[in-house]
């Protein structure tokens, strides 16, 4: 349920940017959410819809969510490989000491405004 408070944060950020750039309306909002960010994208989108409906600047805004994914980094040889949940081992040196990197983004990447 913290998706709603994150959506509130996004709305404040958007209103501040609109003010800064003298925009009359925000048309598109592109947000990157990592699959490991602990955010349910649908709930976040729902929160954004509810909040943006109340605001003239945002009422027609389309939210585009781009999902990002983590990778595995080998702690022994430094190799980078795709993330997998099933018994991962390094494709280069065979080590099982793999750390997940990235995929926890929660980023407002781009907006289109008029």
């Amino acid at each position: 349920m913290h998706e709603f408070s994150l959506a509130q944060g996004l709305v404040s950020q958007l209103l501040a940017l609109a003010d800064q750039h003298n925009a009359l309306k925000i048309c598109t909002v592109r947000v990157a959410i990592g699959s490991q960010a602990g955010i349910v994208a649908d709930s976040f989108a729902f929160g954004f819809d509810v909040l943006s409906r109340e605001n003239g600047l945002l009422k027609d805004a389309v939210l585009e969510i781009i999902e990002t994914h983590p990778q595995h980094r080998c702690l022994d040889c430094g190799g980078i490989m795709p993330f997998t949940l099933t018994k991962p081992s390094c494709s280069q040196c065979g080590s099982q000491r793999l750390a997940s990197v990235g995929g926890d983004d929660l980023i407002l990447s781009q907006i289109e405004m008029e």
């Binding site: 349920m1 994150l6 944060g9 996004l10 602990g38 702690l75 781009q110 405004m113």
Partner: protein, 234 residues
């Protein structure tokens, strides 16, 4: 198609502009968390954020820890709950300053709430400073993992009755923590909890995790836990 007259012109009006922002949605929280970290360091303290499901023994862990360390370290506690002062009262009964933050429904603490908590904690201690500050998050293994509070170390707890599959089911709490405590180990013989599975899954997610097995009832594991804390603060 043009929105105004229906002609074939591109629908994107010339007045539309694209702005690359690339700012974290947590930017404001993270800024406040860094400020909290400075504040805590200025107080001379080391801060720990405790995360777990409700009922895995966070407050009991603090009570036992204060009994062992309260005489040698200046400890302060910030308690996060949705409602009630109960946890803070339990901590104050051990003779240590405790601030209760009630979120009024929110499922996690954020850096802004903790900022207020730190000021209140200083006030309660008459500004005598702290060596060790515990922030006990709202009982929830999901949402608190997203919010930096300004802590130096994040510790995740799983109790034996919850089951050894918790690390695999709630990975973010384990990838974002530095330490993992398995609590209520005196109940191992009564539950189908595999220490091996819990530890293996947790280390698979985060190979750098430090792990302790504790029982607040028998005191098992507390010697190692207490010397670990002494070393972290020292």
């Amino acid at each position: 198609m043009c929105d105004t007259c229906g002609c074939a012109s591109p629908s994107t009006p010339e007045s539309r502009k694209t702005l690359d922002v690339h700012a974290s949605l947590l930017a404001e929280n993270n800024r406040q968390a860094d400020e909290n970290r400075h504040h805590i360091e200025h107080m001379g303290a080391f801060a720990i954020n405790l995360i777990s499901s409700p009922g895995s023994g966070k407050t009991t862990l603090l009570e036992r820890t204060i009994e062992r360390l309260g005489g040698e370290l200046r400890i302060g506690v910030i308690e996060g709950d949705i409602e009630t002062e109960r946890d803070a009262q339990r901590i104050r009964a051990k003779g240590v300053p405790a601030v209760q933050l009630t979120t009024g429904g929110a499922c996690h603490l954020d850096a802004r709430l903790v900022h207020h908590g730190l000021h209140e904690l200083e006030h309660q201690s008459h500004h005598h400073g702290f060596d060790l500050i515990f922030i006990e998050n709202v009982g929830n293994l999901v949402c608190p993992a997203t919010f930096d509070l300004g802590e130096h170390e994040r510790i995740v707890l799983v109790s034996v009755p919850e089951g050894s599959d918790k690390p695999a089911k709630y990975p973010k709490s384990f990838t974002s923590s530095q330490t993992f405590l398995i609590t209520k180990t005196d109940l191992l013989s009564h539950f189908d909890f595999s220490l091996d599975e819990a530890k293996r899954e947790a280390v698979r997610l985060n190979p750098n995790l430090t792990i302790f097995e504790l029982s607040a009832t028998t005191g098992d594991g507390f010697d190692a836990w207490i010397s670990y804390l002494r070393q972290r603060v020292g």
